[in-house]
């Protein structure tokens, strides 16, 4: 989220598209209710299904899954052609005026530089024109045909309301109604907020879906303001914390990168990190990268990280591929290239696509370790459960070890919510039986490994042997110790260079924020963005003062938000060029002549003069980007691509199948149904129900009462065609697998007309499996394809093709 949950109350228009906040985020959804009740805000829901969010919406528009980019580009097209643009925002605060280098072009679904054999682009041409002064060339009049604005105009021209209807199945008048309501938010005093989640991310072009809306929000002047923003509704209670702390195979904490093989030494690594400003005066905050990185290395390796050894840079693994995401690991597993798999708080057999492939992979492991408070399907993948999990245990040699852990409610620590708030929590109960905390287990494994490496040496013991492990009880570091470590501390006294008697930093003290981090090894900090969470003043995450000056929804004294306790990112953009709020009734910060003040922590150096420094200080441009240069693998503008399995060919680029650079493994092509395959005529999608949380609440009695048995949702029309009865059994199958479920026949799903063809939708909730208190069922992922997004490898869970027939139910055993 750029903004915060509490800020949604400040909006005038909520657009829920690519998510189902009422269902998946009911507690957060209350702020939508609040905006509606107190500001008269309107709610629009755009979803393939009339869902629980739609139940309380002012307007609902249907959309075929996997077609959002066409819709969003259609909205941008509408705004541009109807002059629904907040010009005073767009001109100075976006890169609209930046001139793009000759050589970059887009045609028929592809950008320049596509290499079909590699399924990748050579992105060199995707850059600005750089002037003789070393800065990007801009044309503030927006006359230059190669300025971003004109390229954008050209790019979106094809997405007319008629085209939107043809691709998305959204009736033209419904689309226009949405466009009209959205367009109204281009005035400085009206804001719209975008709430999205998996309906956008779980596609082979997920990241571009989100960019599409981000661009629209910039055109409307809605980024950085109260009640605006791009609000990703994060999933697991701490999934935000997971990404923040770098639990991705290609990241280290604070969104720093794990080096790749192309960066064998520190100098090479750093050469591409600290972006030089592309416009005069700009901050380009990533110039501080070195400080964050060195502090991280000091925190990891302590005294073993020295200036001389490049802060132990050699200890870090060097990636040979872009990332070892889950899809890649399971693909490798299936090919027998993985021996040991650690599954901590993860149930991949349920959660990842193409269960058949996953199970085959697990069966090839030598050992599988499960750390979980509950029984999971993954831990029991080798058990025969008849139709629900048909295997022959005798054929599986994998050794499975289950380590019972506590769950979040039984231990202490912090959870980071979607609004980037780090909220401390305390145990609500004591763990049952032999359960141990995750920290204890990891520490014990670490200590034993360290011992082994010490004893036996091995290929490269240093990173393990020298890992900084200075906890009071090495066998079980406390959450407090770990949190303090994340925040960072001063290692050596630091004196003011101007006045060597003046101590600026005192050894042993907690840092007050990442501003104090240094690149000379005098500070340590595990996660720069978390710096400020546990300062000398104590645990900032445990703060629970709900005062809210100005009723602004900022709650600065409640917990701690990264970065620097800022509640709305880019909040400098809530003011015009001179630092006056666009909407005085919704002031966030303002320039008082000498400094920035207000209800939020300014996202700009507090004394940076309004016209000098642009609001988007992280970017070398100082502005936001409507066109993203080469920062995304699949193009600087979003393009509509069909899902890999789709009822129709891509209307705007019939030759392009799926996202041309999406993650596909060679073996998997044959597991996809052909475009328009009559054997799989129905468009499937998978999603959540409010009554369950993934695959674990089915272990809970109350949740199982509220939603006891697996079902799929279909329209009355499809039910009639197929002779399916309300509440009757059906079999649903894709090219990869099948499941049996009850049929919820509903008016809330309607057949759509896509490019002249009737397309029926089959909705598949994800929550059932073969363990638990609820009735046995199937993971939705028996059906889904093994394809990932081009940029972040999120699987395409939301769009796949299936068939359906009435049935008598699963045959058990």
């Amino acid at each position: 989220m750029t903004n915060a949950w509490t800020d949604i109350k400040n909006t005038d228009l909520v657009v829920i598209m690519g998510g189902n906040a009422a269902e998946a985020h009911p507690c957060g959804f209350k702020w939508v209710t609040e905006a509606k009740a107190t500001r008269g805000a309107k709610l629009i829901v755009v979803d393939p299904r009339y869902n629980r969010s739609a139940a309380v919406a002012d307007f609902y528009a249907p959309i075929r899954q996997g077609s959002d980019i066409a819709f969003l580009m259609g909205l941008i097209n509408y705004c541009i052609s109807h002059d629904k643009v907040q010009w005073d925002y767009v001109k100075p605060f976006t890169n609209a005026s930046f001139v793009v280098r000759e050589g970059y072009a887009y045609q028929d679904g592809l950008f320049t530089g596509y290499d079909e054999s590699k399924r990748d682009y050579n992105r060199d041409s995707w850059e600005y024109e750089i002037g003789p002064d070393g800065y990007a060339v801009v044309d503030e009049t927006l006359q230059n045909p190669r300025c971003v604005w004109n390229l954008l105009k050209q790019h979106v021209a094809i997405y007319t309301p008629e085209m939107v209807e043809r691709i998305c199945g959204t009736p033209k008048d419904a689309f226009l109604k949405v466009a009209e309501m959205v367009g109204e938010c281009s005035t400085p005093t009206k804001t719209m907020t975008s709430m999205y989640a998996l309906g956008w991310t779980q596609h082979s072009k997920g990241a571009q879906n989100i960019r599409g809306m981000a661009m629209l929000q910039l055109i409307l002047g809605n980024i950085g303001v109260r009640g605006g923003g791009m609000n990703a509704l994060r999933g697991h209670s701490n999934i935000q914390g997971l990404t923040d702390l770098g639990l991705m195979s290609n990241l280290i904490p604070g969104y720093l990168n794990i080096p790749t093989q192309k960066e064998p030494d520190f100098t090479t690594y750093m050469s591409t990190r600290a972006f030089k400003p592309l416009r005069p005066n700009q901050t380009s905050y990533w110039q501080n990268y070195r400080k964050f990185f060195v502090s991280f290395m000091k925190s990891m390796y302590g005294p073993a990280a020295t200036k001389e050894n490049d802060w132990a840079y050699s200890y870090l693994p060097k990636l040979d591929v872009a990332s070892y995401d889950v899809l890649r690991v399971f693909d490798m597993m299936k090919h027998g290239k993985v021996n040991l798999y650690f599954c901590q708080g993860f149930n991949p057999l349920q959660a990842f696509p193409d269960k058949g492939k996953l199970a085959a992979g697990l069966a090839k492991l030598k050992m599988l370790v499960i750390m979980d408070p509950l029984q999971t399907e993954t831990a029991r993948f080798w058990e025969d459960h008849g139709t629900f999990n048909k295997v022959n245990p005798a054929d599986i040699k994998t050794e499975v070890i289950q380590l019972p852990t506590t769950c979040f409610a039984e231990d202490e620590g912090s959870l980071v919510n979607s609004g980037r708030w780090l909220q401390w929590h305390w145990p609500g109960g004591s763990p049952p039986g032999e359960a141990k905390t995750d920290i204890w287990i990891m520490a014990q494994i670490h200590l034993r490994l360290k011992e082994l490496y010490k004893k036996e040496g091995g290929a490269f013991p240093d990173p393990i042997v020298n890992l900084n492990w200075s906890y009071k009880d090495p066998g079980e570091p406390t959450p407090e110790e770990l949190a303090r470590e994340m925040n960072g501390s001063v290692l050596v006294d630091v004196f003011d260079p101007a006045d060597p008697t003046k101590k600026v930093l005192e050894a042993g003290k907690q840092l007050s924020g990442f501003g104090q981090m240094r690149d000379d090894g005098t500070t340590a900090g595990g996660c720069w963005i978390f710096s400020g969470c546990w300062t000398e003043a104590g645990n900032m995450m445990a703060r629970r003062d709900n005062s809210d000056p100005g009723d602004a929804g900022m709650f600065l004294k409640w917990s701690f938000a990264w970065p620097a306790n800022r509640r709305i990112l880019y909040n400098r953009a809530s003011c015009d060029l001179d630092g006056k709020p666009w909407d005085p009734s919704r002031k966030l910060i303002e320039w008082d002549g000498a400094k920035w003040t207000g209800y939020d922590v300014p996202d700009i150096p507090p004394t940076a003069k309004p016209r000098d420094v642009g609001p988007f200080i992280m970017n070398p441009e100082g502005t936001s980007r409507l066109w993203v240069r080469k920062m995304m693998r699949d193009g600087p503008f979003p393009v509509h691509y069909e899902p890999f399995e789709s009822p129709v060919a891509n209307v705007i680029a019939p030759k392009v199948r799926g996202n041309p650079v999406a993650r596909v493994f060679p073996d998997d092509w044959k597991t996809f149904a052909d475009i328009g395959d009559p054997n799989f005529p129905y468009a499937g999608t998978s999603y959540r129900l409010t009554e369950h949380f993934h695959y674990w609440t089915k272990n809970n009695h109350v949740n199982s009462v509220l939603q006891p048995e697996q079902f799929v949702e279909i329209s009355e029309e499809l039910a009639k065609d197929k002779g399916i009865a309300l509440g009757g059994w059906v079999r649903v199958w894709s090219k990869r697998g099948e499941l049996y479920a009850k049929a919820v026949v509903t008016k809330r799903i309607k057949p759509m007309t896509i490019d002249g063809k009737i397309v029926h939708i089959v909705g598949v909730p994800i929550h059932w499996g073969f363990v638990g208190a609820a009735r046995k069922g199937f993971t939705a992922n028996t059906l889904t394809p093994f394809v990932g997004d081009a940029n972040i490898e999120t699987p395409e869970f939301k769009a796949f093709m299936v068939n359906i027939e009435p049935s008598t139910g699963p045959v058990v055993a």
Binding site: K9, A22, E23, P26, C27, F29, K30, T33, E34, K36, A37, T38, G40, Y50, R52, S53, A54, A55, V56, D58, Y60, N546, T690, E691, H701, V702, N703, S704, V705, L706, Q707, P708, E709, Q710, F711, A725, L726, G727, G728, K742, A743, V744, V745, T746, K747, R748, A773, A774, R775
Partner: protein, 328 residues
């Protein structure tokens, strides 16, 4: 509206954590002297237009009241369980309704449960003294110690709410969390509701609150938005804000004009008085007759006649005037 409206303005007196005899306005099958002064009337307001059907209220009710409902089946709808049970005091009923005026689909989600009628049909029907009480704040509560499990309350209730447990054979329904309200807390379901579709406070506050909501709904084109506080049962202490208050029945059969059924009125009114009178009269009549007419005794002569008949000696012929009554 946020922070959430504070805990209800209902006095919480720690010394008397539960409502007691002194607070009882009505008591089943008993005459009580109502308290001189009523407690402030409370109400739970359920704003159907804000409800997202998340069932948090349903879960909270199960948890707070320690209820163990059975794990059922899917019946092709989102509602689960399919009906109220002794272990489910509340549940969400989902209706897919196409508005004939706009042709738009509307998903109407109503939280079903006891309405806490001001004139409770259940209490009227209950034969067991003190099995149902109504506190002077309006809460209608079942006292399981006194309940005999006859199920009359089911017949008395215009909303089809109470259910009899197969385990202890007593009637169960929403208590309006009287145990929580008594200590100044809102009901568990209200606390759990993420959208504040459920709010709780004094009845007057809730009516004002509803007014705000209705104004908002009207501004969004729901011309018939209104408050459901049916006068037929004297108003209720659980009220709904409905977008279509003109047709409550579209909300999964919410009665348009609930009132205690005339059959129940007749059963619990007339029948009792007339019935007792008739039976008393029959007994009294017999007694009087005996006193007046004296016993109907067999005479010596009768015995002799019988003996003669048995012997074959013809007994005297009865007067001719009586002969037509005989078998020929």
């Amino acid at each position: 509206m946020f922070p959430p409206i504070p805990n209800p303005t209902v006095a919480s007196d720690a010394a008397t954590p539960r409502f007691g005899e002194k607070d009882i306005l009505r008591r089943s099958a008993s005459e009580v002297t109502p308290p001189a002064q009523r407690l402030t009337e409370v109400a739970k307001l359920i704003d159907v237009s804000k409800c997202i059907g998340c069932k948090a209220c349903q879960a909270a009710c199960l948890e707070w009241n320690n209820l163990t409902e059975e794990i059922g089946f899917n019946h092709g709808v989102y509602t689960n369980p399919m009906d109220l049970t002794p272990d489910s005091f509340t549940l969400m009923r989902f209706t897919e309704w196409v508005n004939p005026e706009t042709e738009n689909l509307e998903w109407l989600i109503r939280k079903d449960g006891c309405m806490h009628c001001e004139d409770p049909g259940c209490l009227k029907a209950c034969p067991a003294p003190g099995a149902i009480v109504q506190y002077s704040n309006g809460i209608v509560d079942f006292q399981h110690d006194n309940c005999i499990g006859c199920g009359y309350c089911i017949k008395g209730c215009p909303f089809n709410i109470p259910r009899i447990s197969k385990v202890d054979h007593t009637a169960y329904k929403c208590t309006l969390c009287s145990d929580r309200v008594a200590v100044g807390q809102g009901p568990a379901c209200q606390k759990a509701c993420p959208t504040q579709a459920i709010v709780f406070g004094t009845k007057d506050e809730m009516k004002d609150w509803a007014e705000l909501r209705i104004t908002d709904l009207k501004s969004r084109g729901f011309a018939n938005a209104g408050l459901y506080d049916p006068p037929g049962v004297g108003g209720t202490h659980v009220m709904y804000v409905l977008h279509h208050a003109d047709t409550p029945s579209i909300y999964a059969g919410l009665p348009d004009n609930p009132r205690i059924s005339p059959l129940v009125d007749a059963w619990k009114g007339m029948t009792k008085y007339v019935g007792l009178a008739v039976m008393g009269f029959a007994a009294a009549a017999g007694f009087l007759h005996y006193v007046v007419a004296g016993p109907n005794k067999v005479s010596e002569e009768d015995e002799e006649n019988a003996e003669r008949l048995a012997d074959g000696t013809p007994p005297p012929v009865p007067p001719a005037s009586l002969q037509e009554g005989r078998t020929p």
